[in-house]
């Protein structure tokens, strides 16, 4: 259970108004939401706040009754490795690791031994359809394939919460649909909570709900199917 209450964020440089305030959101395991909004409204910042990469100026975030806003930096880092998964627009695959190693990375951070990590990473790669390329290098992949690896990496350690920042921003619409389908299937398999920032209505349709971020909070923008 993720509960966000009255979140407020202000950058020092920002003028009178905070970037956003009054942001509240509650999600149960297995639930997903898409967050839309104009460019620069603070969608990425919101994700960063939830992940503890950005400090907040008010409000609370609780995950399974743990108050995340009370954690210090390293405490948050250790929480992230266990409970968070990330999918970015820019993939962020490490170029000097093979696909299997890239996917195994979160397991390494959790101190799993090499053999187990490798086995689980390959299994996960198989579920995104890249089993045959497990020992290949990221530079040989297309954008869609890279994002599939990133999805495998985001989910391999069975996180409670998956944060996706414009996961299809770098992909053409056809690829995007395939990748999103895969992403949400895997998220549902895992029973994880998912928050996805996107610009695309088509992408947003994959989530249970769609919200729009405004400076004064999140408003419902779900389009009836």
């Amino acid at each position: 259970m993720l509960a966000i209450e009255n979140l407020r964020k202000r950058f020092d440089t920002a003028a009178e108004h905070p970037l956003f305030e009054g942001v509240s959101l509650t999600l149960a395991p297995g639930q997903s939401v898409a967050v839309m909004g104009e460019s620069g409204v603070g969608k990425s910042t919101l994700l960063n706040c939830i992940a503890g990469l950005e400090s907040v100026d008010g409000g609370r975030i609780r995950l399974r009754d743990q108050d995340l806003t009370a954690l210090d930096e390293d405490g948050f880092a250790h929480l992230r490795r266990r409970d968070f998964g990330f999918v970015f627009q820019a993939f962020h695959l490490l170029p000097h690791l093979t696909l299997a190693q890239n996917v195994a990375l979160p397991l390494w951070l959790l101190d799993q031994d090499d053999a187990t990590a490798d086995r689980r990473a390959r299994a996960m790669l198989a579920r995104v359809g890249l089993a045959a390329r497990a020992d290949d290098w990221p530079r040989h992949l297309s954008g869609g394939e890279m994002q599939r690896v990133a999805i495998a990496r985001a989910l391999v350690h069975e996180p409670a919460l998956v944060l996706c920042d414009e996961p299809t921003g770098n992909l053409d619409p056809e690829r995007a649909t395939g990748v999103l389908g895969l992403l949400f299937e895997r998220i549902q398999d895992a029973g994880a909570i998912a928050i996805m920032v996107t610009h695309s209505l088509a992408a947003a349709a994959h989530a249970d709900r769609t919200l729009r971020l405004t400076p004064t909070g999140l408003v419902d923008a779900t389009v009836a199917p």
């Binding site: 992940a51 998964g85 990330f86 820019a90």
Partner: protein
């Protein structure tokens, strides 16, 4: 976390193989050079120490005098003293071997005394005719021509029992018979032993000994004995402990060794800078990667540890390679130039390469330290980065916003100036080296400030490329720091060494020219060996047709029991005495005083002392000094101070006429010949050979001698030149890799520029311009720092270690060429790697942005 660390961090070293290889190489070379110097010297010192222990045996004290010896009447006096238990007289001679043109250390011993003090010198007779140890073994040793060779000497000369060996005495020859061996001498010691009376007779030293080894009576301390016996010794003879006596040579070689070690340390430091540059750039390039890793849960400490591990692994592998290389180099050096690195401190030793576990570990640790040190700042920078910000691209320039550190830089330079004042510690110019390190630090710290100051002052210009380059360097002076640290370090090192060696070589050349006014030089042997010219031989040479005048020179040594009222420390150490014509010839390179002091019956006899002697005796021009000549004290007055590069221990020059009047010693070691105008030297040389014998004399023309001395000089500095070359090489590597990495890390920026309409060639020019500007700043600071370091080396380090001065000379041409080459190279490296970076699709590079 450990396996993650291995894959995430160390794999990245593998990915940037070129930069990794160069960093490894730099560290390996620094470690190798340092360890080689240490290994060579430790092996040589080991062997030297073994020799000292062997030759000193169980002696508590040694009475030592001038090189040519003192009256053996001293021996019974010492032996009868109640403080003395056992006394053993010795006569040490460097015997010249005329047919081999080398010398052999020969020790005359009292067979019945030596066993009690230095049993290792006991000879063992072997008569090959009887195929068994001679029955009268020891008595056989008393025969006047019986010589015993140590195993090393026997092997080196290829002689065994029954063979004959010719030795030179004056300009004549004597033949000795090998009667056996000295089994107690170690494997590395080349020496020969014979009966002392026989040696006195053979080498015409009747009544003379050079040393008495003493074992004190039980309960008598060395200090007590020194105080009791000291006053009864004739002037010029001193009682030293064996440690003091051996520290004479060790002290001389130590300064040289420390100097080389420091050079190696600087090479290692340059390696550290290279690691710093490459790691910093890698951190810049991997910013997003690290931000991502932080996002998925890597904490700050883990990130820092991971990056430090990268540096540590570089240092470890580099260190291991360096240690391996050091043992190879040491073996090579022993094979090629002997155990003294060409400096001539340890003649006659045959040291072996030995595994030195502690030394090796220390240098390995130094390598690791260089790697860790280089990675330290980049790791800190990476851990400081805000992941949320770094996750979006475009903030690379953030890393390069270095703060000007004028205050720290100035403080370092001020401290460096202060460090030039204190005296050396134990003969080692510790503060001088500290000053060198501080100057280097100050120079590098002043880089960002200098760039930030200089760039806006460059003309704005019309060209877009120029404006872009200027704007970038002004906004991101840190880029110059990263690219320039290695440049400054290697330029400063190379420049300072070039200036120092050039000044030194120029001064030596000038010194030689002034010191060698004659047309031809003649000697019977090296001054320390058993050949000499007697008065009759000199007269015969002077009478030869074509010889206009002869200038005899006599070399001896002096021992002063007290120095400046103190009897401790270096008191008793030998100093060179040179008797020659001064007033008539000139030819002494004076730094103070006059060559023409007033003459007259009431005027004291003049002496001219070298800078080292002035330093040791704390004397100035006009001071009175008492010197022991012919076992009598005589009063002198210092007429001048001269520069002597040949004798670090100090030397005293007196008029040869004065010397002969005071000592009755009419021998000549070197004879300078002035030829009548129009006479060629060759026929005169032939005539001398006919007069003195084919193999009994050595002749040399001043030009040849000059060439020879400069060759020795160059050989001595060979190691220095090598290190200089290495420093330059490392610097060039550093520049190349740094600019290559810079270009790669800016791939996106370059992609954008191309989107904006710049052509590939223009981007290349832009990179080359920036690189040239960065290198220009680095080279300019490096030149200044190098000049300052050269001054410290000349005025502080050399003066304190070797006690000699030199005239500053700036090799402006070579320095200019070197500087331009560095700048050009930076531009070329940046241009080439820019082309490499741009081979990637510009579109692709930009698309990664969000």
């Amino acid at each position: 976390m450990s396996s993650a660390l291995r894959h995430v961090f160390l794999a990245s070293l593998w990915r940037r193989r070129l930069a990794t290889t160069l960093s490894l190489l730099a560290i390996a070379l620094g470690v190798a050079l340092g360890l080689t110097v240490q290994l060579i010297h430790s092996a040589a010192l080991d062997e030297f120490g073994r020799g000292i222990r062997l030759l000193n045996g169980a002696a508590d004290l040694q009475a030592l005098g001038p090189r040519d010896g003192f009256s053996d009447a001293l021996y019974p006096m010492l032996a009868r003293s109640p403080a003395v238990d056992q006394a053993s007289p010795l006569l040490e001679i460097e015997a010249r071997l005329p047919d081999r043109d080398e010398t052999l250390k020969l020790i005359g011993i009292d067979l019945f005394r030596v066993g009690a003090v230095t049993p290792a010198l006991l000879p063992m007779g072997e008569d090959p005719d009887e195929r068994a140890p001679a029955s009268g073994g020891q008595l056989d040793a008393l025969r006047p021509d019986a010589l015993f060779l140590s195993p090393a000497a026997s092997a080196h000369l290829g002689l065994g029992p029954g063979d004959r060996l010719r030795v030179q005495v004056g300009t004549r020859e004597q033949t000795l018979r090998i009667a056996g061996g000295v089994p107690g001498a170690g494997v590395g010691q080349r020496l020969a032993v014979m009966d002392i009376a026989a040696a006195q007779q053979t080498f015409e030293r009747i009544g003379l000994i050079t040393r008495v080894d003493l074992r004190l009576a039980p309960g008598v301390s060395r200090a007590t004995a020194q105080a009791q016996l000291g006053d009864r010794l004739p002037p010029g003879v001193a009682l030293l402990t064996p440690e003091d006596a051996s520290s004479e040579t060790l002290g001389l070689s130590r300064a040289y060794r420390v100097n080389l070690t420091m050079l190696a340390a600087i090479a290692l430091l340059t390696g550290g800078f290279l690691v710093f540059s490459t790691q910093w750039l890698a951190v810049v390039r991997r910013r997003q990667e690290f931000a991502f890793l932080r996002a998925i849960g890597l904490d700050r400490a883990e990130l820092r540890r991971g990056l430090l591990a990268e540096g540590g692994v570089l240092g470890l592998i580099g260190g291991l390679l360096g240690c391996l290389l050091a043992y190879l180099l040491t073996a090579l050096a022993f094979a090629l130039i002997g155990g003294d690195l060409g400096a001539g401190f340890f003649r006659g030793l045959a040291p072996q390469v030995q595994f030195e576990p502690i030394l090796t570990l220390i240098y390995l640790a130094l390598g690791v330290l260089a790697g860790l040190g280089g990675a330290w700042l980049p790791a800190r920078e990476a851990a400081r980065m805000v992941p949320a910000r770094a996750l979006r691209a475009g903030d690379e320039a953030e890393v390069y916003r270095a703060r000007p550190r004028w205050r720290t830089a100035l403080a370092a330079l001020a401290l460096a100036a202060l460090c030039c004042l204190p005296p050396p510690i134990g003969g080692v110019p510790v503060f001088g080296y500290l000053a060198v390190a501080l100057i280097l630090t100050g120079a590098i710290l002043s880089l960002p400030g200098t760039t930030a100051w200089a760039m806006p002052r460059l003309p704005a210009g019309r060209s877009t490329l120029w404006r872009l380059a200027r704007a970038r360097l002004t906004a991101a002076p840190g880029q110059t720091v990263v690219a320039g640290a290695g440049v400054v370090a290697s330029v400063a090192l190379a420049v300072s060494m070039a200036i120092m060696v050039d000044s030194f070589r120029g001064s030596v050349d000038d010194w030689l020219t002034r010191l060698l006014p004659a047309d031809l030089y003649l000697r019977a042997s090296d001054a320390s060996a058993s050949g000499y010219l007697d008065a009759e031989a000199v007269a015969r040479v002077a009478a030869l047709p074509g010889v206009a005048a002869v200038r005899p020179v006599r070399f001896e040594t002096l021992r002063l029991r007290e120095i400046g009222g103190e009897t401790s420390g270096e008191a008793g150490h030998a100093m060179a005495l040179i008797a020659r014509q001064v007033r008539a010839d000139g030819g002494l390179p004076l730094v103070a005083g006059t060559l023409q002091p007033p003459t007259g019956p009431s005027v004291p006899t003049p002496v001219w002392i070298s800078e080292a002697a002035a330093d040791r005796l704390r004397l100035g021009v006009g001071d009175a000094v008492t010197l022991p000549l012919g076992e009598q004290p005589h009063g002198f007055q210092v007429a001048g101070i001269w520069r002597d590069y040949a004798r670090q221990q100090g030397s005293v020059v007196i008029e040869i006429a004065d010397y002969r009047a005071l000592t009755n010693d009419s021998r000549t070691n070197d004879l300078g010949l002035t030829l009548t105008p129009g006479t060629a030297p060759e026929p005169v040389m032939a005539a001398i050979r006919a007069t003195l014998g084919e193999q009994q004399s050595e002749m040399i023309l001043p030009g040849e001698l000059r060439t020879m001395v400069l060759e020795v000089f160059d050989r001595t500095f060979l190691v220095t030149y090598l290190m200089e070359a290495v420093a330059i090489l490392i610097g060039l590597f550093g520049i190349g890799t740094t600019f290559a990495a810079l270009a790669t890390s800016r791939r996106k920026e370059l992609g954008i520029l191309r989107h904006l309409g710049l052509r590939r060639r223009q981007v290349g020019t832009l990179l080359a311009t920036e690189a040239a500007l960065s290198a220009l700043v680095g080279v300019a600071i490096g030149l200044l720092a190098g000049g300052a370091i050269a001054l410290v080396l000349i005025e502080v380090v050399n003066r304190q270690s070797f006690r000699w001065s030199m005239d500053l000379q700036l090799p402006i041409g070579p320095l200019l060429i070197f500087s331009l080459a560095m700048i050009l190279l930076a531009a070329i490296a940046a241009r080439l790697s820019g082309a490499q970076a741009m081979r990637q699709d510009a579109v692709l590079a930009v698309r990664e942005d969000w």
